[in-house]
């Protein structure tokens, strides 16, 4: 334990309104604490500057999965374990389930939450690329009201996001438009389980008459935030997924990503593998 643990405070608000009121009372001081799988690691490493936390783990308003004809809306506290167990998510949002299954291990999946993962804003997280592919929107609430934000524009810079002091992520809404799309997810980590990704690729496309009618592509660990590869998408729309378009698509991807050298991998490796995963994705679309 590399931190002075007694200096850390945590309270349990009785409901969401109370939590938001507490956060509004001292803006930027009280932070929500869900399953702790990121925050406790930072605490133990002595890298958690915030000292005051609100235990939101039991807030019913942040839990549950609602299904309508157009949307599946997940409470921010939906755990990775719960994502994997949900029948409709497994059937229509397989990339999110894959991401959940490949995040950490059984124990971390029981405590890690989608909301916590989004708020932690790691560019290496596995769920964000899937959320981008599914055009996710997130509901952000505060004592002053609520707003919906497109997830694709939520993260702005490394560890910076469209979340202000006193705000909390309440729900994540996915649109059920991609059922039937061809889907692809691949995480390349340091090992097969419990691995932080070196690079992560999520893609889905609607293929009609051999052409890519619509496509979504997002990557993790190749930029300061999760990357929505819009240029590649533009280039691919209307094309046949084959060798003719591959080179141009790979070049576009190479131009869009900005990987770095870090403890786990190198920029060079990430660039090379990104191109190969794109090629593999196109093979899935062609096949």
């Amino acid at each position: 334990m590399r931190a002075y643990l007694p200096a850390y405070e945590m309270e349990t608000p009785r409901d969401l309104a109370a939590a938001l009121a507490r956060m509004a009372s001292e803006p930027g001081v009280w932070k929500p604490f869900a399953g702790g799988t990121d925050l406790m690691v930072l605490l133990e490493a002595g890298k958690l500057p915030h000292k005051k936390f609100l235990n939101v783990w039991n807030l019913a308003e942040l839990r549950g999965v609602e299904v309508s004809s157009e949307h599946v809306t997940l409470g921010a506290l939906t755990t990775y374990a719960e994502v994997q167990r949900h029948e409709i998510l497994a059937r229509e949002f397989p990339l999110l389930c894959r991401a959940a299954a490949e995040t950490g291990s059984v124990a971390t999946q029981n405590r890690g939450t989608l909301g916590g993962n989004i708020a932690n804003a790691s560019p290496a997280a596995d769920s964000p690329p899937a959320l981008i592919v599914y055009d996710a929107e997130i509901e952000i609430v505060s004592a002053g009201g609520s707003r919906w934000v497109r997830y694709a524009s939520f993260h702005t810079e490394y560890k910076k996001m469209n979340l202000h002091a006193g705000e909390l992520i309440r729900r994540i809404r996915l649109t059920r438009t991609q059922a039937g799309w061809r889907q692809y997810f691949r995480k390349v980590g340091t090992r097969r389980a419990q691995a932080i990704s070196k690079i992560c690729f999520a893609g889905a496309a609607r293929v009609e008459a051999g052409r890519i009618a619509d496509v979504r592509i997002a990557l993790g660990s190749v930029a300061p935030t999760v990357l929505h590869a819009v240029r590649v998408e533009e280039l691919l729309r209307g094309q046949r997924p084959g060798s003719t378009v591959l080179q141009a698509a790979q070049d576009a991807l190479n131009a869009e990503i900005a990987p770095i050298d870090d403890m786990r991998s190198t920029a060079r490796y990430r660039r090379h593998v990104a191109r190969n995963l794109l090629a593999e994705f196109l093979e899935v679309l062609a096949g």
Binding site: M1, R2, A3, Y4, L5, P6, V41, A45, G46, S105, V188, T190, R191, R192, A193, Q194, A195, I196, K198, M263, R264, S265, T266, R268, Y269, H272, V273, N276, L277, A279, E280
Partner: protein, 740 residues
Amino acid sequence: MIGKSVPRKEGREKVAGRARYVDDLSFPGMLHGVTVRSPAARGRIRATRFEGEIPWHEFTVVTAKDIPGKNCIALLIEDQPCLAAEFVNHPEEAIVLLAHHDRYLLEEARRCVRIEIEPMPAIFSIDDSLAREEIIWGQDNIFKSFHVEKGDVDGAWTGAAFVVEGTYETGAQEQLYIEPQGMIAQVSEAEGVTVWGSLQCPHYVHKALMVLFGLPRERIRVVQTETGGGFGGKEEYPSMIAAHAALLARKSGRPVKIIYDRAEDMVATTKRHPSRTRHRTAVDRDGKLLAMDIDFTVDGGAYETLSPVVLSRGTIHAAGPYACPNVRIRSRAVATNAPPHGAFRGFGAPQSVFALERHLDRVAEAVGIASDELRRRNFIHEGQTLAVGQVVKEKVDMNGLMGRAFELSGYHAKRKQFAAENSNARGAIKRGIGFASFLHGAGFTGSGEEYLASEVAMEAMADGTVHILAGSTEMGQGTNTIFAQIAAEALRLDCEQMKIIQPDTAYVPNSGPTVASRTAMIVGKLVETAGLGLLKLLTDGGFLRPGYTAADFSRACGEYVAKHGPLKSFVKYEHPRDLHWDDQKYSGDAYGAYAWALYVAEVSVDIRTAEVRVNDFVAVQEVGKVINPVLAAGQIEGGVAQGIGFALYENVVWQEGRMVNAQMTNYVMPTSVDLPAIRVYFEEIPYGRGPAGAKGIGELPLDGTAPAIANAIAHATGVDVRRIPITAESLLEMLEAVHA
């Protein structure tokens, strides 16, 4: 009892969560201790400042000035300080110790101690050390060097049909026992210095504390607590923590517990020595070895610690289980400004064997024959001489091991099949199969066992319980159980009646360190002898007749004790008279016995991501006698897993002598989904001097696993692997080069 999978002696406690490891213990009035470490790799300590709003008067503070005896951790020599006094020579070197009862305040205080160091130039690579622009140790940065010379190497080059050269490198590897290191110490006028902790060698710690405190033998007591893995990482390092805890205990007058957290353990304790080996090999047109010229260097870090011995084993194993008439091995252990490297299962041999087995595959390629054919033409046989001049006096059948391993793994068919499949350029998955053939000497090298003069005692109590007293430690490998089996076999009783006394220097004799694959073979033999000695006391005294039952035995013990007092047998190691070793020439009988092995690895490589997966692993070894099949297989399986980590996953990232990926999230060992089924098979050619014929096996699997995998990757991809770990990043670059 021998050859039975008797359940682990302390198994019940372990599965119930009742086994007591050092951090499970708590003493009244106990303080916690922490270590303040050097931020610089090398320099002069200018000042130590105690800052922050910390109630410093509540703390016990220890520096080098508080050391009553000699400021060193005595091992082979006394160059390593217990606490840096004027100079530091590696990052994380210990400088100040603090103790307090509040663990959290202690951590806060640790961060408020600022050590000001005036930096001095530091060196971090083997090349820089050898270049000697900066002398950081001794006269020339060299801890030790060896020169082995057999036959006439220089004369062999001109007549050779092929001469193949190559350079091979291995990286550092962290032992990563799941229980971090720790000690509790108590110092009093009445009892002297007592330490309890996670350790492999109680008598090493004992000796180090004698020197540190300037106290005689009987004033120091070392007790081993249940130890959660060691693998060599707890061979020498525990002496350092014991010293620190004891100094704090002495100054505070209270018991002190120091437990490292994982990050500290990784960054400050020992690792496997990084190595570089250069091979130059002459063969005739049939691939028969004419000469081997081997140059072997290991990076020892900042102080000598065990580097000479690691170098020794690596040197002796460098030429493998082959008959070659002319061999030269020049080796050296060099100093760098990194925390000292140390013992890790295999102890120099995994480094030199990786180089050799990878090199021989390349030699085969140059000659134009199959890898296995090259080995077959050169395997050593009984009566032939190993590189250091040892005549092989035991039966050895490497061809037989190879045949069996190849059959079990489907080697030949897969070698052809994968080559055919891989030639299809479109496939993204390339498969390969490769092997390594090797040997591992059990026991201390040369006259080492004679020098250790290990002792074991056995006492039968009045109720017939038999106490086994040895300094050998249990750390998961099964010492307790096999000692019980060996003793039970000798006494013709049940294992249940055997009791292993907790290693405590106050009560058990010095059986030597629990290292070097010696515990079953050398110490186990002493246990067997002690048991027979007990029996002889009873039969000679007329208390016991042949064909006795367990009840007879117990009654006889009761009668003996009533009449004569303690019924105790004491055995000291006697070095076989026919083993001769010349320390000057570094030649002769290096080891009493060798285990022989052939391992086969099957891999698949995804060329899109350069990820390697080991799909199957076959480990065949001849080990003398398997005392406990489940335990023995467990040793090999665990060792192969560590070898897979060594080959593919475990990469220490260094920055100016400091490990920067010191978290289990970033220093990666294989999980249950990363490993294949590891298939283990034993052959037994009993070794006359081992208990029931057993030889040592603990380190063996670390030697052959990585090169088998490297050779398999070469087969799968055509990449000429020269260093481990084979990270995806490095493999991807090599794949690009092959395709270009």
